[in-house]
Every structure is written in structure tokens, then in C-alpha cells.
């Protein structure tokens, strides 16, 4: 018989089953993750101006350059190469404030790639999230620049100067009379405002540095020490480039969950655990006569549920949102199963709030993610699936 010329040329490919694949490769995962981090980075650039873009760019370029140089030196291609390097650099940049000099993100990315990834053997082998390794080493190396306690006020662009303003000469604003970012007058001469980070205020509150004011503790904190809630949702408070904009972080996280690259258990359980911890753990300033006040969530002052507002401020300030939606969900450094990840996330959430309330280290969310990364092997070993048809395994 005569076959049509275009029917079946020789050389059919013989591979083992399955012959069709799902189609999501590790590069898709890394690129989607980079896109999600890019959304947050864009919002950070709007809020903190060109210097934020510079920090992100330097961090990414340094990570990519380091990866290329190492790949060249070892004469073998780096797995996941540019995608993973740029993601690591971007995440590192998101954790840094926009005011740092250029060499800090450069050195941080170098450390992240070399000591976070390469020494463990590349993609898939490291046990601590590389960007966070870079971040905490930076925190130790450049303590005078990055420490919150040495720099009590951090800058943010003033209204009318978003994206184009400069952070150089901020005007100090006192929280007591601060009506919120949106209520600030548009002043051509004031390009930036400097204020305290909400997370630092909360930390000081928990450590009893605010004395109760006529029996009121939470009410003065909320009214006079913290910015209005809209500001912390839109990210118009000082902090790291990607840490402040809660809305952008939620959108980025939802995108990753939609793509199936982030399990919803990770952010949901982490935030829920942090909420529970903040709701229950005692704070020193709340109680009368310097005692500890347990269960701050139930505090009611002047007929207002101030305890709930206090807990919500804990969730939206600091690094918690960035950690929950973008950093902690890294596949390599988290448990395999969804319930393992839930356990991991619960640990991170509780540890974060615990360290914030009683600890002295800053970047508490990053430290707790690294701490839980260390326990991933234990969690995975404890949460194996039962094999079909076999008795329960020990």
C-alpha cells in the first residue's frame, strides 16, 4: 500500500510512559514567582521612589552576575540559572529599605547566591531560603545602617511626590498629630516624611515602654502612636521596599495560588497563627502597674474593641505579609505535603509574634522562617502519607 508522503515519516520518538506531561516546569514556577515579586517591587517603587528601583535592580544584577561567574568558573550551567538568581535578588531587594547605599544589596545578593545556594549544591539542594540568608547576614554585617533601634525614623515619600520624589531630606512627623498619609498637605518642598515604623512601635508597646494613660493602654497606642489603618493596607508606612504594601502582597499571593505554585495553606495558616499569637500573648504595657496583660484581643476601652485593631496592626506591619505571601512559600525549603506546610507556617507565625513581643532581634519574620526551614526534615519525616494497603507506619 502507498502511504501519503506526509503521514508517517520515520523516527517516532520512543519514551517511557507517561507520554503527555502537565507542562509546568521549574522555570515556569520561578518566572511566575518573579512576576509576583515584581508586582510588589513595582508598588514599592511607587511608594519609595527611584531609590527603591535602584536597590531592586542592583540586587538582581548582582545575583545574576554572581550566578554567571560561578557557573563560568565551574564550567557547567547553573540549574534554573538566571530565573532563580533574579528571583533571589528581587526577594532580597524587597526586604531592604530604599535608603540603603548601593553596595548593601550588591553584597547581600552575592552572599545569598554563594552561601545560600551554591555551597549547598545549587537549586533544589539548599535548606535555607537563600534570599533570607543574604538578608540576615546583611543585618549582622551592616547593623548600624539597617538597625531599627539606631535609626528610629525611616522615610517615605510625601503626597504629590510618589514615584518621582527623593527620600534624602525627609521632614520629621510626629505620630501624635499625624492624621494619616492621605491627610498630609501637598507641599512642593517636602518630598519625604520620616516617621517610626509601626512594627517598632508595637515592639516598644509590648516591652512596656508606654505607660498606661489613665487606665487606657491600647487606645493611646492606636490613636497617637500608629498610622491609620488605610496607610498600612496601601503600604504608605516606612519599612522595607516590599514589606509595607499589604494589598500588592495579597494580589501577588493570590496570583501564585491561582497558578498552583503556592499552597493556600502557607499564607493563610501563617497569618492565622500570627493572629492567634498576637491575640493571646501578653503585653507589658497593657496591664496596670507594669504587670503583663494577657489576651490583648479582648481589650475594650471606651466602648471600642481596641484589642482586635491591635491584632490587625500586628498582621499588617513588619515583614509578616511579605514572608507569608512571597518568601516562606519557597518550594525547596518547605515541607513537601500541604499539612506539613501548614505546620511550618503555624510555627513561623507564632515564632514571629513571639520574637516581636519579647525578642531583641530585628527581622523577626525572616529569622523565624530560617528557624523553621531547619525543622523541615523533622516535619517531613513525621508527616509521611500512609501507603495504600499497608499498616500505619511508625
Amino acid at each position: 500500500m502507498k502511504a501519503d508522503a506526509r503521514t508517517i515519516p520515520g523516527g517516532w520518538v520512543a519514551l517511557a510512559a507517561p507520554h503527555r506531561l502537565g507542562g509546568s516546569t521549574h522555570l515556569d514556577i520561578l518566572r511566575s514567582w518573579t512576576l509576583a515579586a515584581g508586582i510588589v517591587g513595582l508598588c514599592g517603587t511607587v511608594i519609595f521612589g527611584a531609590s527603591a528601583a535602584k536597590v531592586l535592580l542592583v540586587a538582581m544584577l548582582s545575583a545574576i552576575a554572581t550566578d554567571c561567574i560561578v557557573g563560568y568558573a565551574r564550567a557547567r550551567p547553573v540549574v534554573g540559572g538566571l530565573s532563580h538568581a533574579s528571583l533571589t535578588g528581587l526577594l532580597l531587594g524587597l526586604t531592604l529599605p530604599a535608603t540603603v547605599p548601593w553596595y548593601i544589596p550588591a553584597i547581600g545578593s552575592l552572599i545569598a547566591v554563594v552561601f545560600g545556594k551554591i555551597v549547598f549544591g545549587g537549586l533544589g539542594h539548599f535548606c535555607w531560603q537563600p534570599a533570607l540568608v543574604g538578608r540576615v547576614v546583611l543585618q549582622l554585617l551592616f547593623l548600624p545602617t539597617l538597625s531599627l533601634s539606631l535609626h528610629p525614623t525611616w522615610p517615605i515619600l510625601a503626597p504629590g511626590h510618589l514615584l518621582v520624589g527623593r527620600l534624602d531630606q525627609p521632614q520629621r512627623v510626629e505620630m501624635a498629630g499625624y492624621g494619616g498619609w492621605f491627610a498630609q498637605p501637598h507641599d512642593a518642598n517636602v518630598q519625604a516624611l520620616a516617621m517610626e515604623r509601626p512594627v517598632q512601635t508595637l515592639r516598644a508597646f509590648a516591652q512596656g515602654r508606654f505607660r498606661p494613660d489613665g487606665g487606657l493602654a491600647y487606645e493611646p497606642l492606636l490613636r497617637e502612636k500608629l498610622p491609620p489603618w488605610q496607610d498600612s493596607i496601601f503600604g504608605l508606612v516606612p519599612g522595607g521596599i516590599g514589606e509595607t504594601c499589604t494589598l500588592a502582597l495579597i494580589i501577588a499571593g493570590l496570583y501564585l495560588i491561582y497558578r498552583g505554585f503556592l499552597r493556600w495553606q502557607m499564607p493563610v495558616v501563617m497569618i492565622a497563627a500570627a493572629a492567634v499569637a498576637a491575640a493571646l500573648l501578653p503585653v507589658e504595657s497593657g496591664g496596670n502597674e507594669g504587670g503583663y496583660d494577657w489576651f490583648p484581643v479582648f481589650a475594650v476601652e471606651q466602648g471600642r474593641a481596641v484589642g482586635v485593631a491591635y491584632v490587625l496592626y500586628h498582621l499588617t506591619s513588619g515583614e509578616l505579609m511579605l514572608g507569608a505571601f512571597l518568601i516562606a512559600g519557597d518550594m525547596t525549603t518547605t515541607p513537601m505535603r500541604a499539612r506539613g506546610q501548614a505546620l511550618f507556617a503555624a510555627g513561623v507565625g507564632v515564632l514571629t509574634i513571639f520574637m516581636r513581643l519579647y525578642g531583641v532581634v530585628e527581622c523577626e519574620c525572616y529569622w523565624s522562617i530560617l528557624a523553621m526551614n531547619t525543622l523541615v526534615g523533622v516535619i517531613d519525616g513525621r508527616l509521611r502519607r500512609r501507603v495504600f494497603g499497608m499498616d500505619e507506619e511508625p
Binding site: S24, H26, R385
Partner: protein
């Protein structure tokens, strides 16, 4: 019944699994088409190398459709019949996908397709004999139907599950057979249940095809057959998981449904048996889904056994050059390397693809998708790490034997690691006693 079904939804029996994009739109609404044999057919003279037969034709003989051309030898074998009328021009050997080279008779069709006279002397005692005589087989694992009945009777099964689940993408042969001739299968299921002496009979079919479920439910009214509409989460079609979902019994590692007093019979076997027992028609055609992105007229075809894949491709037309051809489902099938492979009785699908889903393995990135989706709770990423080892402990062996070869781990792996293939190799190396997964589709 149907209101209740709509409210409750399908049963969910096993942990893991995945809803795959099923690509059935192209074929599920097209009726089964007959493929007429015009070119010489290379009919294998035995179904498998382990099922010996004695050829009954010689070069130059004329044969009629349904005429026996090879008689079974021994008990665990089946006879083979001519798929069309014509003349035997050669006795040769032919390549089949699963069994390799088999002896074959080359039959040149005369175009009249005259049927052999049929002999409707049916009695209940001889049903098992009839099945053997008419060439009724169970496709996976390949064995004669009467052999499965014998094993099931020996094992003393209490439950019979007839499986019309096709959860693999592209496959629609069971669905189309069900749509076109459902009542017959329920009759045959009842006969088979009587022969086996089982207590409960279940008919598993995909819940998603609601109208088929309704029609089968209506047909089954008054019979002692429970219709089990199941979710089409892959791999629900695996016999072990059907037993788990319907009966909530777990087959031990390396065992078969017979170990838990159940037997799973695929719809293909029921179809062949119904033809054989009720109409005295032997197995001469296979119902084959021909699909894939290279196929122009994708559909379900009734193909004479002995048609080569090349002839079939000419019949259905091609849109693009074929890069990959698969015998069977896309997740568990066998890659074809030669286009003279013939359609055998156990063929369910021929998939012709113009693209190869190439793999480019990188180290595991610990995404955990394989662990989450494995239907039997294995950790494929950990199992493949023992590949270079020379031996495995008992627990690992049990894990390897539990694997159903469904291929989901490789399907989802973002690092495109060949997990399923590696586990399959490891099982063949470490677990030499190959008693794996016999006893149903």
C-alpha cells in the same frame, strides 16, 4: 436516584489523584465508525506469547469472517478468528505493541466480508468454553477471560465490579460503547455474576457523563446491579482504586483485587463476551480511539484486528507529521516505534501526536506535587533515589510493589524527572516475583 446523585456527587474513595484535562471533546460525541478492510490484514495467530494456539489455515485457503484460523492449545489460551472474508496469502510474523513479534496470517480481503455461519447453541454450562472459543480476553493484564473467571471462582470472590471508567485523557472507546449499546452489557454483567456466584455486582462509570449514567440507571432498574457513578479523577480507572472506592477494601502491596475477594472486569471484556455469548460473534474487531493533535478525523473506530497503524493513519487522515505514536492511554501507554504495528484485540487507543513532550531533568526542587498526587501515598522522589542501590529493604519493596504505574508523578513533576519509569525499573529489579496487578483492567 438521579436527584440523589446530583445532590451527593460522586463517591470519593482514595487520597491523591488529579483531574486531568481530558481532550475527549473531539471523539466523545462521534459515533463508532467501522473501518472496512481493503488492504491485506496481518492477523496475529495468537494473542500473546503465553497463549499458544494451533494454526488451522494454510497459504491459499479461503476464510470467512468469524472463521477460526487458530485453535487454542491448553487451558489458558484463546482461539483466533478471521476479521474479514478473503484468502490467506502468507504465513509470516508481525509486530504487536505489547507482545513483540507474533506469528500471523496475512489475509487478503475479497471485499464481500461474508460471515461464517453462526451456531447459536448456547447453554449456561458452556459459557466459559464459549468465551475461550470466541477469543474473549481481558486487556490488562492480558489474560483469557475464562482464566480470570477460573481464578475468581477459586478465590471465592463476593463482589464483581464492571469498570467503564476511562479516566485517562483522549480515551473514549468505553464511553462510546456504553452510549451505543448499554442494555447488552447489563445482560452480560448479570450472566457473568451468575457464573461467578458473587453477592454484589457494581457497574462503575464516570459520573461526569450524566446522561449515560441516567440511561444505564434506567436500564438497570430491576436488576441486581448497583450503578456506581464515580468521579473521573485520574487514576480512578485502576482496579485497586475501584475496589477501594466502591468496596472500601485495600489491596495489599503487590496483590490483586482477587486478594480482597473482588474481581474487576473491564467493559471491553464484557463487550466481547456479550458478542460471543448472545450473538455467537467471535472477537474480530477492536474498538479503538484514534486521537491526538496529528489526527484529522479523530474518533472511535471499530477496526479489524490485523490492521496496521499505518493503514489506520491513512484511514483517519493526518494534519501534521507524527512525531510520537502511543498505543493505549497517554499516561500508561506504550510508545510505538514502527508503523507496521498491528491493532490487536486488547488495543484501546492509538494516539498520534505531532509534538513530543520532551523532558529535561533537573534536580528535584521538592515541590511535593508527586507526594500530594500519588494515589497510593508513595513518595516517588524518595523512591527514585535508591536507583543505584543494589538491594532494597522489605518496606521499600512493598512500596515499589504498591505503585500502580499510573504515571501521575512524572506527569506533574516540574523538574521533569522520569519518576514513574524509574520506579517501574526499580520494581522489576528488586521485586523479581512479578505478581503485580493482575486481576482486572
Amino acid at each position: 436516584m438521579s436527584l440523589l446523585l446530583n445532590l451527593l456527587g460522586p463517591r470519593e474513595g482514595f487520597e491523591g489523584g488529579l483531574f486531568l484535562p481530558d481532550f475527549k471533546q473531539a471523539t466523545s460525541r462521534r459515533p463508532i465508525e467501522n473501518v472496512v478492510a481493503r488492504d491485506p490484514l496481518r492477523v496475529p495467530l495468537q494473542v500473546s506469547r503465553t497463549m499458544p494456539t494451533k494454526p488451522e489455515v494454510a497459504v491459499g485457503d479461503s476464510v470467512l469472517r468469524g472463521q477460526r484460523i487458530a485453535a487454542l492449545v491448553g487451558t489458558a489460551s484463546v482461539s483466533v478468528h478471521a476479521p474479514t472474508s478473503g484468502r490467506v496469502v502468507e504465513i509470516d510474523r508481525v509486530w504487536t505493541a505489547r507482545e513483540g513479534f507474533l506469528p500471523c496470517a496475512v489475509i487478503e480481503p475479497d471485499g464481500r466480508d461474508t460471515a461464517a455461519p453462526c451456531n447459536r447453541t448456547w447453554s449456561e454450562e458452556s459459557m466459559v468454553l464459549q468465551l475461550a472459543e470466541h477469543g474473549v480476553i481481558v486487556p490488562a493484564p492480558l489474560m483469557p477471560a475464562h482464566e480470570l473467571i477460573r481464578q475468581a471462582t477459586q478465590a471465592g470472590v463476593t463482589d464483581l465490579i464492571v469498570s467503564a471508567m476511562e479516566t485517562e485523557p483522549y480515551l473514549t472507546s468505553d464511553l462510546r460503547t456504553l452510549v451505543e449499546q448499554h442494555g447488552r452489557f447489563l445482560d452480560m454483567t448479570g450472566e457473568l455474576a451468575d457464573a461467578l456466584g458473587v453477592h454484589h455486582v457494581y457497574f462503575a462509570l464516570p459520573y461526569r457523563h450524566r446522561r449515560v449514567v441516567k440511561r444505564v440507571c434506567a436500564e438497570a432498574a430491576g436488576r441486581h446491579i448497583e450503578i456506581s457513578p464515580l468521579s473521573d479523577r485520574y487514576p480512578q480507572c485502576q482496579p485497586n482504586l475501584l475496589v477501594k472506592t466502591i468496596l472500601d477494601r485495600e489491596v495489599p502491596p503487590g496483590g490483586t483485587p482477587l486478594d480482597v475477594e473482588a474481581v474487576v472486569v473491564p467493559l471491553t471484556t464484557i463487550r466481547m463476551a456479550a458478542d460471543a455469548v448472545f450473538s455467537d460473534r467471535p472477537v474480530t474487531h477492536a474498538i479503538v480511539t484514534v486521537a491526538g493533535d496529528a489526527v484529522e478525523h479523530a474518533g472511535t473506530y471499530r477496526v479489524p484486528i490485523g490492521t496496521s497503524v499505518r493503514q489506520l493513519a491513512d484511514r483517519v487522515g493526518l494534519l501534521a507529521p507524527v512525531r510520537q505514536a502511543v498505543w493505549g492511554g497517554p499516561l500508561t501507554g506504550i510508545a510505538l516505534t514502527r508503523d507496521e504495528t498491528v491493532i490487536s484485540a486488547d488495543t484501546a487507543a492509538i494516539l498520534l501526536f505531532s509534538q513530543v513532550h520532551a523532558t529535561n531533568p533537573v534536580p528535584c526542587i521538592r515541590c511535593g506535587w508527586c507526594v500530594e498526587d500519588c494515589p497510593v501515598g508513595l513518595d516517588p522522589a524518595a523512591l527514585v533515589q535508591l536507583e543505584p542501590a543494589s538491594s532494597a529493604d522489605e518496606q521499600t519493596k512493598a512500596h515499589l510493589k504498591t505503585c500502580l504505574d499510573c504515571g501521575l508523578c512524572s506527569y506533574v513533576c516540574p523538574a521533569t524527572l522520569p519518576l514513574a519509569a524509574t520506579i517501574h525499573r526499580a520494581r522489576e529489579r528488586f521485586c523479581t516475583t512479578s505478581s503485580h496487578s493482575s486481576g482486572g483492567a
